[in-house]
Amino acid sequence: MGLVLQHVTKQFGSFVAVDDVTLSIPKQRMFGFLGANGAGKTTTFRMILGLLEPTKGEITWDGERITYKHSHLIGYLPEERGLYPKLKVKEQLIYLGRLRGLHKEEIVKEMRDWLERFKIPQYEDKKVEQLSKGNQQKIQFIAAVLHRPQLLILDEPFSGLDPVNVEMLKEAVIDLQKKGTTIVFSSHRMEHVEQLCEHICIMHKGKPIVHGSIKELKRSFGKKNVIIHGELPFETLTHIPGVIKMEKTVEGVRLQIADESVSQHILEHIYSKGFIRTFSLEEPSLNDIFIEKVGAAYEQ
């Protein structure tokens, strides 16, 4: 069953923050929400968690409406990071863990495992305000997963982290998924979503403009990319029919083409015009899809 949103709408006065979202996220899936700031991602999450009540529609987990009875099943990492600055890491996690229905002993054991994994066991008795921002974020992540939730909601989990920590956190997220956790997360970093998720939903102004599996989306998108590295007169390439966009890169160009067959015309065109180091046909990136879809939605 997993998480099901049916015609969920949220209005604040006359402002429509989330507009008729219908989604079904099966268990053990990693699902990504994409969208610009103010697209309605956080509001959707808050409704899933029961912090806000939908104006219309219904949200269920395993067929049941989510209430505070389910809070031990759900983990949440909010977009705005925060912990009690004056409390020690251990006290903090014990408090938050107990509110999720755990006992003290379980929390301490689980906490030590996680601190070990994140390579910060020495911070157990430090006050949160003494920790760096990245480490605070790790503590907050631990707070979200301490109780082994079935459904984990991560709102911008990687923002503000350095690449090493991003990798560490990504691995942790993937591990959790393998152990059976359903993970819903939002990000505006396409590469993170692309790496982690099979399924996504792109939101724009409260509306889900695209959703489905990434593979499917890319296939149906039709357009492909051609990457060429080398020393060539690139300017003439834009005249070839089917070439939609050209972007200069350091080593050459990146072309967006209407379909696969165009790539062969390009190859013919540049053949013997100069030195070609790389010629490759690639799937469209999520970024391309996002820009196109959201851009189209802007123009409406």
Binding site: L52, E53, I74
Partner: protein, 409 residues
Amino acid sequence: MNNKFWIVFLHTYVTKLKSKSFLISTIVTALIVFGISQLDRIIEAFSNDGQKTIGVIDETNGWYEALQAQFQTNKEISLVRHDGSEEQAKTYVQTDQWYAYIVLDVQNAQPKVTYYAKNIADSDVTHEIEQALQQVKIAMMAKQIGLTYEQINALYAPIAMEKVALEQHAKTEEQLNQARAIVYVLLFAMYMFVLMYGSMIMMEVATEKSSRIMEILISSISPIQQLFGKILGIALLSLTQFILIFSVGYASMKNSDMLRQLIGMDELPLPLILYGILFFLLGYLLYAMLFAVLGSIVSRVEEVQQMAGPVTMLVVAAFIMAMFGLNAPESPFITAMSFVPFFAPMIMFLRIGMLNVPTWEIVLSIGLLVGTIAFLFVFGSKVYRGGVLMYNQASSWKDLKQAWQLTKK
């Protein structure tokens, strides 16, 4: 109430109890209370050892002896007759051999005194000399006129007026004085505690909100339970502190004469104190709720003071009325105010302490108060639910409406 409520309740209580600020404020207040209760001993300990010697240059006839007789049993002042020159007397004072000297003269049977000392700030000494001279003067004059000692006493005997209240349960004069003292102390404690702990709640809520931990909290526990847990946890904290300070004060006063002098009794009237605690708790709940709701709509801790202003004014207004009411507990204004929920905790308590208030009035006042608290909890917890999710640039009272709307469907 379920398990999670207790987790928040105990967490709030224990964390605050262990905090340095609680420890320090309790110790400091207890010390101050202890100090006040021991004030007479402390002053005694600090005052100069031994007596102050005062030289007397007597230019009269026999007044010195009479005056000397007045100071016979005085522990602080002793008189010395000085027959030498005034210059010499001045040197004695300047070299601290004497504390001061006076020149005593009589003109037309009226004493004329000049007091010389290094400084004339210590009014106690001059006051005592004046009083003694007054006595001497009366005695001298009486002797002149030929009055007997009994006649003088009769002349100066105070008027004996006994006040008798005709109402059956009305308080006697002595009881009233006792009540006034206790009511005063408890009113003051109420005022301090409501303000202190009310703003503590507001700070707590604002801090949790601005440190953004609120969102994690209310995704695991309903905001209403969380709010209750916090308010009651801090209530228990305030009671703990009150009882600690009160015990210190009571224990240290019990051994001194102060308590008997001040309150005029050995034992405290328990019912009045229980009423005090009841009204304190109700008043605390009322104001804590107001403060918590305001705390939930501010976005930054710096804005707390500004938003708290109007509510603080209400508490101050109640206290000022109560101070006025101590002297006029029967005035219609005070009677009316004792039913207004925002003032009732102090004013009704004051009336109960000072007057013989009919039971129905007490019940009505408490009923109104409890009703208002219930209403505030229903209204406030809705605003709180929305308020904690709201982050605005500048907070204002208009945000109350916005927060309310946020919890609607």
